[in-house]
């Protein structure tokens, strides 16, 4: 017998995500929003406050920069995929342990 009580957290989380998406749709449909990263917005603010253009801020320590947005998104996807694989592995391992413990 499925009870609402048992799945309360799932329901709350689903509602929160739906509201979040609805908010995004409402915001993006009205006015011009670029949805740029807040890191970049912050950097622009620094330039504004100090009166120096963003380009004048050079890395103190030279660093590798992904040559394009595509490559950057690949690297971010890899980062997330690594986390996802690890997560699935551990939860699968725990599930297996649990199942085994029940049989014995």
């Amino acid at each position: 017998m499925i009870q609402v009580r048992d799945y309360l957290l799932e329901i709350i989380t689903a509602v929160a995500i739906v509201v979040f998406i609805a908010l995004f749709l409402a915001v993006s449909s009205g006015g011009s929003h670029e949805f740029s990263g807040s890191d970049d917005v912050g950097s622009q603010k620094i330039a504004e406050l100090s009166g120096k253009p963003v380009e004048s801020y050079l890395p103190l320590i030279p660093q590798y920069e992904p040559p394009s947005g595509e490559i950057e998104s690949t690297l971010f996807a890899l980062q997330a995929a690594f986390g996802g694989v690890l997560l699935g592995l551990v939860f699968g391992y725990w599930l297996g342990q649990r199942k085994r413990a029940k049989v014995l």
């Binding site: 406050l49 660093q63 980062q79 997330a80 986390g83 690890l86 592995l89 725990w94 649990r98």
Partner: protein, 240 residues
């Protein structure tokens, strides 16, 4: 919440590195001691790390019309404390600095202080406050996660404000400006992150309650109460 490479004056880079270093050293020592004691903690450590990896790769749009990412440090803070979270968060930030040009080596100290030290400390404070009360453990998880996320961005705003005080109004005005960019964007994200982590915690409670009990994250009574509410399985039968 990354401060970009080059956007922090060298003296402030050093200050934040100096703050971060003791936490990193403590974290490495604690991590070694923990794993020497019991390898069974390794999977949970993996889950905590995996979440920081996944969530800090997701840049989500928010109501202010810019994008930002959740931090995912709450779970690790509750299970393993602030210092170990510093190490795990530091690894993620190092990866992003080296490969993605998000943040950089000189500003890594500042970014570690905000995401892997400041946020977790605030989350830990909430956790300690609620741990031994009758508050439902999932509500505790929600609050710890959301607070750790939000405070991360407040600290980033603070770090930028002290480095770049406004000509009129000084640090406070600057802080308000950066706060509006970072923290306001973060409020809806922090709420969703809190819900997701409460849900994940429910699954950990169902699959591996003994590890939470062993780490002393919550007491046996609290965990069993949460299990009963989630799944009508008598605890004695599934305990291994």
């Amino acid at each position: 919440m990354h401060i970009m490479e080059g956007f922090l004056p060298p003296e402030w880079c050093l200050v934040w590195w100096a703050v971060a270093l003791p936490f990193i050293i403590m974290g490495v020592l604690e991590l070694r001691a923990l794993l020497r004691k019991d390898r069974e903690y390794l999977p949970l450590l993996g889950v905590c790390g995996a979440f920081i990896f996944i969530l800090s790769a997701l840049k989500l749009p928010s109501v202010t019309g810019s994008c930002s990412h959740p931090t995912g440090t709450g779970l690790s803070t509750m299970c393993f404390g602030v210092f170990i979270t510093t190490v795990i968060g530091g690894i993620v930030l190092l990866f992003q600095a080296l490969v993605l040009a998000h943040g950089g080596l000189s500003v890594l100290g500042a970014n570690i202080v905000s995401m892997a030290i400041g946020g977790p400390i605030a989350g830990y404070a909430v956790y300690r406050l609620l741990k031994n009360t009758s508050v439902n453990i999932f509500i505790t998880v929600f609050l710890v996660t959301a607070v750790a996320d939000l405070v991360t961005y407040i600290i980033t705003s603070f770090e930028l404000a002290v480095a770049y005080p406004a000509q009129v109004g000084g640090i406070m005005t600057s802080f308000t400006t950066f706060f509006a960019i970072f923290a306001v964007t973060q409020v809806p994200l922090a709420i969703v992150e809190g819900c997701v982590f409460a849900l994940v915690f429910k699954y950990i409670v169902q699959l591996k309650p003994e590890i939470l009990e062993k780490l002393g994250v919550f007491s046996r009574d609290q965990i069993e109460k949460a299990r009963m509410a989630g799944e009508p399985v008598p605890p004695a039968e599934v305990r291994s």
